[in-house]
Symmetry: C2
Subunit: 685 residues, 2 copies
């Protein structure tokens, strides 16, 4: 490389750099302990990984003349040149000598993540610098959008925006504020006066806020102290909460002008759209978007009131919804990195065997929807070691079983998950296929072949050992070498979605399992997400729309403003709000409740990438009985628009090689979508 | 267990508890970044492990009546009973219900180590509580001597004591203080007045302090600011330093009454003694004790000026010296735990292959000298995984080689350590023997047998592949299946000390290797420690005393007040102070310089444990040409005293089954040492 090259390649601005992954891991550590149950901390019950406190950065430059640079670090730093580690400086401004030199900077920080920012005319920290955790691991430094020396990574906060209550009333002499719909943020008291205690009872429902003894979230502060902490006459509470209602009890003598809130959120763009001839479905779609948005935060959370943790199985679904709505890859990447954490792998993600396996599928989806091979490359080693960890759990038959310390989850249902569970084998096979694809993309043909062969063996074995020809489906589990008679939908759904069944098997599964009332019903929105997707894969669109209207529409009937963790139409009144034996234990804003985003975008508008980053894709719209629908699905480079009624389909794409596929006169028709962004119109008549 | 049992077993005081090992690991993280080179941070260049930020404690009690307890935590805690994790409290005082219940307490702390202190009439935190890092690992909680709720683990500090300079003079108009001998601590300015800068140049030698441009340690502060920080008129500097001299340069207008220092140290007891007919040796012994004491701090450091890091090979020697002097097991245990750190093992201890192996030998010595099987039990799993890590590095011949990223050290010498180095195999064999012994003690006979068989194989293979019958010693290394002709003392010394050679081989090694001037001389006190020990093992006591007088006596001649990192009598004047290409780079107070403590105690007084905790021991005194000597060697239960001249030996022991062994008329005589603490006297005539 010539000197000229170096200077040309230098980017325009410096940026904060760190050991890759540590920003996300540190943020995850902080967020995993934010949960409060009635004001009391309820930390996540798994190992929380930590940033490396001791790291070093390096960079080789070649400068025609000496240059002055300014150095900022989060932590104690020292800089030296050309390996002369006895001759260090920690001056904030230094002169770098001309010529070719290697800069080394050690940074130590045992509170926040060590980070470095160096800025000069030509020498500036960016991803072309390398970092080490002193483990024989010089890797490209981590970075994001922290481009200002005064806004270091540790200062990262979500955006905030003032919101006012929609209405207020007095209940038993205390003000009850209603913010109109579910929200998340910090209550604010304007012009707080007097002395005494203030107690706040939050509710996702009105009933919850009015239950001072059982509402999930509470706050309590001293008015005098709070007034002293006020800025510009406004006291903002320290902890953000999920709520729609807040019931405020204050001691006599405490007063304020008004109470508002500071809404806290990730400023995503609502890039998707869906509208159709059924207004109820449109309402469900919009509410799903809002539900997902509230849960798309530092990471994709399960729910914003509870648990406020990062669960891999929940995130897997949120990722998919995100590709059909905001296409915000920052939240996705942060979540993928935080879930993987650090070595050693001792327990599975969130203690759940299936949740480790979902991570591979999530990573595979990430690559399919974004084409971001750089991210895959950066975290490939962590994927390899996770796969090694999972494969080490195979029994003598080569099937993965839960260890004594593992939670084999599958679903919130009364399932016997002992032995080797068929769903687990199918998730592992899909993970092995993903690893094979990554290895191939990264040029390791041998590893790719090994992973593929493991995947093929496992698929074949699973079909052989679990398929019940008589009952037309995959049985649930196998204990001590004997497949048990229990039949559930779960493995069948995944096998269908992943394309592991023959057309004949798929047809049998639909009729004998998925639509068979004798097979136990799926009750959680979590698994209904996969169930609805599997039914769509089998063209049961009319049935799926009926289910969506009943299930999601049912929540709206009950006053939902975001979708819930669980919904059982048979319950009465406030019984809907209970879960886990806790009166208001149910989360009323749960990411997995937003599944219609994915269903409508992928299976009704029918937009599906076929290769990484939408380089090729197909659009297979299905009205599912609707008179018309139209909508937009975003991707990295632009979006795909679909507009359909019973007589014609119109499609437009900004990027990639797309094909419109539809049925006319009982025959499948495929038409290329123009690459110039113009509309394609196809008649269905 | 009955209720009565529970209550009886409750100790008298509560104590702070934590996840075992995390106190030492957190302290090590902090201490590893204390090094400063001319005021600039110089952190350790290996991964610094970190405490778990998220831990949980549990305890099952059975109480006849309810009981009020007070709870303190370092970190955010929440407590719940009987697994009801939705019903938590973080109140500082609670009432525990009567009956049998399980207490769970989660504690999160991402700055200092999570720790818990609960105190009630019967329920109190102690080592009978268990802790988990949420990795399927309920283990007995860690604890030490933090018995007061107001003195939590994070407040741990060494002891301090004021010291005055021995003398002062003006040099070039600036005061040069001389504290009389090497010391460590914080300078203090009494009644500081005026404004301006104060600069301090520290020196372990006078020449270093007077070299403002090149002295290793410096301080600089603003007098006005310092005066504001003063307590009771005394400003104490923030960073402790190693020095004998301090040269103080102040701007005009800055004044003070006097400068003293706050000596910082571990309050050990000097439990050993040695005196003999040669006053020079007595001086060497006392100076060795002081040298070791200065380096026995939070951990055993290599040197107090530089590096102030915990090096496993250095610590191995300090442990042995400590058994013959202070017998302070706290520093030893802290050091052993800090060195092992956490998983995953990626690099070797201090990046050095041999340093991982020394840890097993150190742990083995710890058990031999103390009999503390509880400590071995607590850290056995970490020993097993370290051994797995080391064994994974064996080549096709079954010999351990350094990986590309490993430093194979052996000694500070110009050695070619490529391929399989014989010293490494011998250290590994000794480690495997130690693991076999631990496994046996802990009741795992199968593991014990496996380790022993691995050790025996490796010893046999090493003797077979490296022994050169013609040259009478073990050759240095083997590359690509071919043993190379290089002959060094190192492997031969260790093989002799560990008893791996036949008597005939041992005799040949002494003459053909150890006393052969054609074999490269050992120049570092580090390896001279082992060389002298090996020579003593072969009864070369007269020769060893000559060497001690010349080598350690030589440093005293040059004005040493503590022993150095290295000593080369051929150097002139201030050239003694340089090392690593740095003018004052040499450490003049280095733990490995204190070797005579070990030599005199083990090989002259001749006190050696034969089984764990001095349950059996032998005393084999050797005058080595001295007219008389007497001394004391401590152990866990008391001490052994020896008093010998040419005509008789007197021995007294407070504990254990000891045997006095000596030679009379060319025959070996063994006499049991009385168990009642009375003196045994044996005539040598």
């Amino acid at each position: 490389m010539t000197m000229q090259d170096t200077i040309q390649e230098t980017p325009q601005t410096a940026t904060w750099i760190w050991y890759p992954g540590d920003f996300e891991i540190r943020l995850h550590e902080k967020m995993s302990v934010k949960r409060r149950t009635r004001g009391v901390p309820y930390p996540a019950y798994w190992r929380l990984d930590r940033h490396y406190s001791n790291v070093k950065f390096r960079y080789v430059y070649d400068l025609p003349r000496e240059e002055q640079v300014a150095i900022k670090a989060e932590g104690a730093f020292s800089l030296y040149l050309d390996g002369k580690d006895n001759d260090r400086t920690d001056e904030p401004v230094i002169m770098l000598p001309a010529g070719k030199h290697e800069i080394s900077v050690s940074v130590f920080n045992d509170v926040e993540m060590p980070a470095l920012y160096i800025e000069g005319p030509n020498i500036r920290t960016d991803a072309s610098w390398e970092a080490t955790s002193y483990q024989n691991d010089w890797v490209p430094a981590g970075m994001w959008t922290f481009d200002s020396p005064s806004a270091p990574p540790s200062a990262f906060r979500l955006a905030v925006e003032p919101q006012e209550p929609a209405s207020a009333e007095e209940v038993q002499g205390h003000p009850l504020l209603d913010f109109g719909r579910e929200t998340f943020g910090y209550l604010r008291f304007h012009n707080l006066q007097g002395t005494g205690k203030v107690r706040i009872y939050y509710g996702e429902s009105r009933a919850e806020a009015l239950s001072t003894a059982e509402c999930y979230s509470v706050d309590r502060f001293d008015a005098g102290e709070a007034a002293r902490l006020a800025e510009d006459g406004v006291y903002t509470l320290g902890d953000a909460k999920a709520f729609r209602y807040a019931w405020i009890h204050a001691d006599a003598g405490v007063s304020w002008d008004r109470v508002s809130m500071l809404y806290e959120y990730v400023p995503v763009t609502y890039r998707s759209a869906f509208a159709c001839s059924d207004p109820k479905l449109n309402e469900i779609y919009e509410m799903s978007l809002y539900t997902l948005h509230l849960n798309a935060r530092e990471f994709f959370l399960d729910g914003i009131k509870r648990d406020r943790w990062v669960w891999s199985g929940d995130a897997y679904q949120a990722f998919l919804m995100n590709y059909y709505s905001f296409f915000d890859l920052n939240v996705t990447r942060r979540t993928l990195i935080a879930l993987r954490g650090k070595d050693p792998l001792v327990m599975h993600f969130n203690t759940i065997l299936d949740y480790s396996l979902y991570w591979f599928v999530s990573l595979s989806d990430y690559y399919l929807y974004t084409g971001d091979i750089a991210f895959i490359r950066q975290y490939y080693d962590r994927a390899v070691s996770l796969m090694d960890f999972c494969l080490a759990q195979r029994n003598e038959e080569g099937l993965v079983e839960g260890r004594q310390q593992d939670w084999v989850f599958v679903d919130w249902a009364d399932l016997d998950n002992s032995g080797a569970v068929s769903t687990i084998q199918i998730l592992l096979a899909r993970g092995l296929e993903a690893m094979s694809a990554f290895a191939a993309e990264l040029g390791d043909a041998a590893a790719s072949k090994t992973y593929l062969s493991l995947a093929d063996d496992l698929k074949a074995k699973t079909l052989c050992l679990f398929w019940d020809e008589e009952r037309g489906g995959l049985l649930h589990h196998r204990v001590d070498g004997a497949t048990q008679p229990m039949l559930t939908k779960h493995a069948n759904m995944f096998a269908m979605t992943f394309g592991y069944l023959s057309p004949a098997q798929q047809e049998r599964v639909i009729q004998s399992v998925m639509l068979n009332p004798d097979v136990p019903r799926i009750r959680t929105p979590y698994m209904r997400f996969h169930e609805m997707a599997a039914l769509c894969e089998s063209r049961q669109h009319d049935y799926v729309l009926q289910e969506v209207r009943a299930y999601w529409g049912g929540m709206i009937e009950l006053g939902a403003t975001t979708f819930w963790e669980e919904y059982d139409p048979s319950l009465a009144d406030d019984a809907h709000y209970g879960m886990y034996g806790v009166t208001f234990g149910k989360s009323l804003c749960h990411a997995w409740g937003a599944g219609p985003i994915y269903l409508f975008g992928k299976y009704f508008l029918g937009v599906k990438p076929l290769s990484a980053g939408y380089e090729t894709f197909v659009v297979e719209p299905q009205l599912g009985g609707l008179a018309w629908m139209k909508g937009t699905v975003p991707n990295s480079a632009g979006e795909v628009e679909v507009d359909m009624d019973a007589s014609r389909i119109r499609v437009r794409a900004t990027h990639g090689h797309g094909v419109l596929r539809f049925t006319r006169d009982g025959e499948t028709v495929e038409v290329p979508i123009p690459a110039d962004g113009s509309w394609l119109e196809a008649s269905l008549l």
